[in-house]
Symmetry: C2
Subunit: 384 residues, 2 copies
Amino acid sequence: MDNKLMLMIPGPTPVPEQVLLAMAKHPMGHRSSDFSAIMAEVTEGLKWLHQTQNDLLILTTSGTGAMEAGIINFLSPNDRVLVGCNGKFGDRWAEVAEAYGLQVEKITAEWGKPLDPAQFQEKLEADSEKTIKAVIVTHSETSTGVLNDLETINRHVKAHGALMMVDTVTSLGAYNVPVDTWGLDVVASGSQKGYMIPPGLGFVAISPKAWEAYKTAKLPKYYLDLGKYKKDAAKNTTPFTPPVNMFFALQAALRMMKAEGLENIFARHARLTQATRSAMKALGLPLFAADEAASPAITAVIPDTVDAEKVRSIMKKQFDIALAGGQDHLKGKIFRIGHLGFVSDRDILTAVSALEATLLELGYERFTPGAGVNAAAKVIADLQ
Amino acid sequence: MDNKLMLMIPGPTPVPEQVLLAMAKHPMGHRSSDFSAIMAEVTEGLKWLHQTQNDLLILTTSGTGAMEAGIINFLSPNDRVLVGCNGKFGDRWAEVAEAYGLQVEKITAEWGKPLDPAQFQEKLEADSEKTIKAVIVTHSETSTGVLNDLETINRHVKAHGALMMVDTVTSLGAYNVPVDTWGLDVVASGSQKGYMIPPGLGFVAISPKAWEAYKTAKLPKYYLDLGKYKKDAAKNTTPFTPPVNMFFALQAALRMMKAEGLENIFARHARLTQATRSAMKALGLPLFAADEAASPAITAVIPDTVDAEKVRSIMKKQFDIALAGGQDHLKGKIFRIGHLGFVSDRDILTAVSALEATLLELGYERFTPGAGVNAAAKVIADLQ
């Protein structure tokens, strides 16, 4: 049976029917007052979700485009930046910075382990000349399911004075990221994640301090020049044609998120994460990230006696559930279960029960049938 | 009565119902074989539409992002470029080139007039040292409704050897742009135009000669680095998360375009253009561009005895037809009728009859009621 696909990957995430239908409305002109009204509403909604009064800009890009914009608008050639690298996305931001001729110093951790805030502290405290202009960190490292300790790293960055630039692609809308309370300068994410809409929009929140740096920043830019977006956003419009149907989708999704409420959204993601992790433990499947560093968006499993790709293949063919595989050197070694965005308690039970069936089919015998579902159910009951 | 909007602007253009419904399907993972199959099909379809065997790359950007990518991937700081400027978009490409530190020489014409190919010839023939690296031209200047003589300009560029970079945002899919026959090196456009889908995708066709220049080009880039897209397109995938629902839409639209056939598509746009222009003449409304330089996508009208903004306002309020206004210094002076993409003969009759009603309401008396509709109908009958 086809066409009953269930997405349990870290993006695109599942999209509610009412969002899909909103997106299917006929486009309108993007220079119309009708569109400006939608832009005003979604900008306000995004600020609510980001817990910020900062500018919240909407780009026609993937999350990578948004993050690149967040980096290049506030820096100049040869500026020194610290980049946290403990997965594919941390590495990507280092590549972006290098592509633009910045002086990149990487603070690394093994894939699957969180970044050590003390290493940032050390570098920053040693920099009495204040030559470090920005610190770039991936909050939830999608490639490994690790949540970095942004709050502590940010505290060290604040003490130093550099700009704090954060990839929140798979944390925003799933985990508490109080942008203003923490004083994050650049916060970038993408639509196909916690936002419950398809890919095609990037979001960047910019602090006044970052705008100060913008004035003297010299990296070349045009399409990604955030100054243009800021100027036009003040009039509820965009410098370049926006994907109007994606805005319809965003409007519908933000209304749903407001109805659920921030605390409930965060609590749900915490519950889904814990239920998934408890189930994996009950099934004897090793988790790639430790509990203390568990991403609220994705759980990576590194099975030792069963083939990760065979698990994914049967989950897809037999049960039409898409799980993600490993990236780069983790290809074939891990599988990743997404529980981000429009995912319910029921979806976790579904995924775990299908995983149990898959394990049985693969002859994996290190679990009591039903143990995974039971463990997930217990978490769901306890955390309601 | 609301919600019966008819788009007669140069973009977003009208979207067929089956395209909207395709777009409303639930997303799939972009790293799946199902998505790769769609990407293979739409890439092949785009090559057919571009009449090219060159690489055809799909970006998550507006048309501006695609054009910027087309410029910056093949040049280095201080490279000398000629930019044709006779409207808002020509000016924009000069701004992009300047933002990246290129040496820009503008070849200008008054807004509403076409670029003079002889001026390109003169500059190019004088450049015996071959310091001009690229010539950048907007084919259909959306802001004025002028079609530049790309074929002749390109002939001069070929004789010189510089790269020919073209903005075909409102000509591709409306007018014959035989990319390989003409040997165009960079051809950029956006989805919300002749492609009959909403905004959100940019397209760039790249010649082997441009790829040669890519090898030594030194402008910084990452999200817009076309080398990454080329490498991944060979495996029917993308370097960054693509807007999968837009690909569903593109697949549906390209199937419709193939069913109609290239020659029929071009003939339809020629007929719509001529019908619109004949109607305006019959109504005594001055056209902004001459017949010889008429864009196949848009007709700009510069009324002398009636207020352009009042026309647009009544067309919108009374008849729910969106016309475009003037941009920059043409604001309030012209109105523009889009006839690009999913537009039928009937739509032109509808727009012209509503325009006649609007003119009557405004007390404009320089026409015989019915003359506009009759003129359009005559063209439609003659050109079937």
